[in-house]
Subunit: 225 residues, 2 copies
DNA sequence: GCCCGTAATTATGAATGCAATCAGCCGAGA
DNA sequence: TCTCGGCTGATTGCATTCATAATTACGGGC
């Protein structure tokens, strides 16, 4: 097991990661212009590694490079969401199938633990923590699938999804519903019912999309800022 | 319809594309080291845009960047293939479903035309041309799905698949079988039977993987060059 | 007063230069 | 003879500099 020999982390990777965090934290919002000079100066580096980092982020879809016109944080449209969620549902459904198939006692215990935390956070009503644990749960399932490429594709899509504010759970009753869906998925995995786990996971993702859509279309009470 | 105002193609993109072609043509083989200075000199450019291009290719998975140790063309393992094909089958299956659902008379005619070319090339026995038309057929289906993200994910996976030599069709009888599967898929789409098209496409992809696997495991008669 | 053309400014894109690190080689010592 | 240590050449990574295109500001004309 080599850790790539200590820590040969390139600067551009470091920079890319820091920018990712800023984008996910919506410190850099979709549509925002990224000022190369300003960022380079802020990080105390030259524009060269920064530009390399931006190329990577562009390949990931987080930013959009307009030749000769600069770099902007990618904006995700409703149409994109309508297209992404079905694909994600397909992939994560498959993931659940594989996980239900592969999971041994240890892995199931690990999932149960995460699910337990989910129940806790839901009870406590901490949406941000719930969101976080939820992500951990899904990631754990991805690992359990044992399919590196499945994991990668899901990761690619979830990354761009993070460009949007995760408002879905704020929808009335969505949190309870999400939790209920998780319970069902967990049960299916526990029973080793792979086809059911797959179906439930797909529905879970799609109903998540519905929740966001309803929020978007509805006249938001006191949205934005 | 603006074409982004003439041709604002960045140099690093141009370079990335040229390198992609060389990689796909196996002029640069998996495992090969990419000499920055040599390539930059060959293209008559500096290392800066070349390095940016390499970052992009790395994000695409075509090359692997080892910090301080250079850039190498990615090597795809059998295990990777075992993992990629099921995912690809899932996605392209979905694609076929959507295409069967969406396709109007015009689109079906376009598909029929491509399928016709496929039959021709198969009859002529030109494997390379068959492979090419086959790709065009699949790409056409992707477009028909109308899902940009589905298209993108499939493209991502197919790109890395192209790192491997496409020997599958050289398997005895595989070409005929592939053609037969295509006929069935085409028929399903023609009839608007989306679920059937989906199932057939999945099986088509998986049987394609089987063909490659059989070739790999079998003692190759006179492989390579 | 508004619009258009031109000049100045600013940002992006690419080239060059320099420092740090890695690989290979040679020699010394066990 | 084999192994360990230092040296040298080569290559990567980053900074700096230069060129070019786009945006803005200004002035003249309508």
């Amino acid at each position: 097991m080599n850790l790539a020999t200590i820590a040969p982390i390139a600067l551009y990777q470091e920079v890319a990661e820091r920018l990712r965090q800023r984008i996910f934290a919506h410190e850099l919002k979709p549509g925002d212009w990224i000022d190369e000079q300003a960022v380079a100066a802020e990080y105390g580096i030259s524009r060269t590694p920064l530009r390399e980092a931006l190329k990577v982020l562009a390949a990931e879809g987080l930013v959009t490079l307009k030749p000769r016109r600069g770099c902007y944080v990618t904006e995700i449209s409703e149409r994109d969401l309508d297209q992404i969620f079905p694909v994600l549902a397909l992939l994560e459904g498959r993931c659940a199938y594989e996980a239900a198939w592969n999971a041994g006692a240890d892995q199931i215990r690990r999932l149960e633990e995460l699910h337990g935390q989910l129940e806790e956070q839901a009870a406590g009503g901490d949406l941000d923590r719930f969101f976080e644990v939820n992500q951990a749960f899904h990631r754990c399932l991805q690992e359990l699938s044992g399919n590196r490429w499945l994991d990668q594709m899901i990761g690619d899509m979830r990354r761009v999804l993070k460009l949007t504010r995760h408002r879905s759970l704020r929808s009335d009753g969505r949190l309870a519903q999400s939790l209920e869906e998780h319970r069902a998925i967990m049960a299916a995995i526990r029973n080793g019912d792979a086809p059911l786990a797959e179906r439930l996971m797909r529905e879970h993702l799609l109903s998540g999309r519905d929740a966001v859509a309803r929020l978007e279309s509805a006249p938001r009470p006191a949205a934005a800022a």
